[in-house]
């Protein structure tokens, strides 16, 4: 069974096509990089794959669950790390996680496990409002892992983080994949995508313009050995993104 299976997925907003008939599969245990300039349709795709948004047409399954018809069955299979730090800032980190633990009906002891996993056990009693961006990002990952999902969606997980913290986050992601988790990653940082992803899809104006391993993409579209994924990205989308951390 594919971890993610997408066929002709389309989403329109008020007559504008945000995602235009995309198709791809993600294998279990794979890190799948989903790249594209702003407005390319990355977030819309994530929202459809996580059941937040109904596709206009097409089909998508995550761990065999249809994202429209089997939404409730889908929810325990996925964890989502959102681009924004959507946490309860007045509550301590532990209470944030305990709340979600109750929604997912997982044991309290699991909260301590994930806090330790992301290195926040010492600060678990502090209000999230006092956390740095890096700590909030770790907490978001902890929240997404609370119920042991099979597929983790990471939307710009290192955006705005300093290089050391970004490296820590990447190492947590690598560790998770080693444990068998499938990761669907969107990022603006091409070096990060190159370093982490087993395969990448480049999205432009709602359509996938390239999909392969970073090495194959460089071999196919690059002019010489020094060609980077960012060069390929710019070549295919005509847009420059800026260097990653």
């Amino acid at each position: 069974m594919k971890a993610i299976k997408v066929q002709d997925l389309t989403r329109d907003y008020n007559g504008l096509r945000a995602v235009d008939g995309i198709s791809f599969d993600v294998e279990p245990g794979e890190i799948f990089g989903f790249l594209g300039p702003n407005g390319a349709g990355k977030t819309t795709t994530i929202k459809m794959l996580t059941g937040q948004l109904r596709p206009t047409s097409g089909m998508a399954q995550v761990m065999g669950c249809d994202v429209v018809d089997e939404r409730q069955a889908l929810k325990p299979q996925i964890g989502v790390v959102f681009e924004n730090h959507n946490l309860y800032e007045r509550l301590p980190a532990r209470d944030n996680l305990r709340f979600y633990a109750r929604l997912y009906r997982v044991k309290k002891s699991r909260v301590e496990e994930v806090l330790a996993h992301v290195g926040l056990a010492e600060r678990a009693r502090d209000k999230v409002g006092t956390y740095s961006n890096g700590m909030k990002q770790r907490l978001l990952i902890a929240r997404a892992l609370l119920h042991k999902p099979k597929v983790l969606f990471l939307d710009e997980p290192t955006k705005g983080l300093d290089p050391n913290v970004a490296r820590d986050i990447r190492s947590i992601v690598t560790e998770l994949v080693d444990q068998g988790l499938t990761v669907f990653l969107t990022t603006h940082y091409m070096e990060e995508a190159d370093q982490l992803s087993d395969r990448v899809a480049i999205l432009d104006q709602g359509q996938i313009v390239a999909l392969d391993t970073p090495e194959q993409l460089k071999a196919k579209y690059g002019e010489d050995e020094s060609t980077t994924l960012e060069d390929i990205f710019v070549q295919l989308t005509g847009r420059y993104l800026g260097r990653g951390s």
Binding site: T50, G51, Q52, L53, R54, Q72, K75, P76, I78, V80, F82, N84, N86, L87, Y88, E89, R90, L91, D95, F99, Y100, R102, L103, Y104, R105, R143
Partner: protein, 361 residues
Amino acid sequence: MNETKANFVDNLYRVWAIASKDIVDALKNKNTRTNIILLVIIVVFFYWSSTPRPFDKRIDVAIYDEGHSGLTDLPTQLADGYRFEFYEASSLQEMERMMGYKQLGVVVPSDFDRVLEAGGEPKLTGYILWVHRTKVSELELKYSDKFSEMLGQPVSVNIGENFVIPQPDVETSTVQFTILFAVFWMAITIVPHLMMEEKQTRTMEALLVSPASAGQVVMGKALAGAFYVLLSGGLFFALNWAYVTDWGLALLAFLCTVLFSIGVALALGVFIKSPQQMTLWMLPIVVVLLVPAFFASEPNLAINLKAIFSWLPTTALVEMVQFSFSSHAPLSQLLTNLAIALGSTALVFTIVIWKVRRSDR
């Protein structure tokens, strides 16, 4: 069957998880704390302003003078600053009806002048509102003392069991409005804020990818709001229990008020997206729903306005509370009010459910 039961328990568990998180989180919010404190002050103020206070020097008395004595012609200003204000009634029934806002009703016996001239101690029959029934001996002593001072010789005011329970159409105080205000205000300041904050901080997105559904989120917010609403209702009844003549009706009126207020609050929560919009909507809501309910029983209100106000759910709710403070509840009017209140509540909840289902992707 077992699966259905398990799903139902899961649903309840999630609703409660959201509600309990919000109950705690709301208390940590400065705005919510301010609203709670303001509300407590307002409820206590309404109670205090509708109860005889020790520093009030004016004693309003509805008086029925059976023997046409000269009592009301005497100087009413007392040496200690107290002053009687007499309102003459032509019958005992009229006197009782006049007692809505009066502290005391007095029946002057036909032999009053004769006993007074003979140097005896005239006995006045006193009446007080049902509300003040626990203070009989204190009030007997106070009014006997004041009448004695006025007449320059001992007079006794005997209240005994003469409690006047107001007629349903007699306004006694603004207390019946307080319960609507307390519940409604608490609901519309807390529930929409809880929902708006989830949208603004985008925690709603995280909630909706969790096993919680949009409906469970809304129910959780409603339950959290209901917790604070019940607290405000509890405070109201703790202070104003003495007004209640029919506890069944009082609780029915309170329940209807809670349901309607939570419904309006949820509607605001699902439609309003920002604090600015909330501020914008607050004034029309107060003007349309609260102000008319406050003035609906005003006797000098224009008939057309009265007719319009009577169709408002908030007016119906206030009237239901008033019936529970009265001697009896006119059945047809009570049923009409109940129908208006429940119909409006059903309408508001239908709108909320429609919006939630529509916004659920």
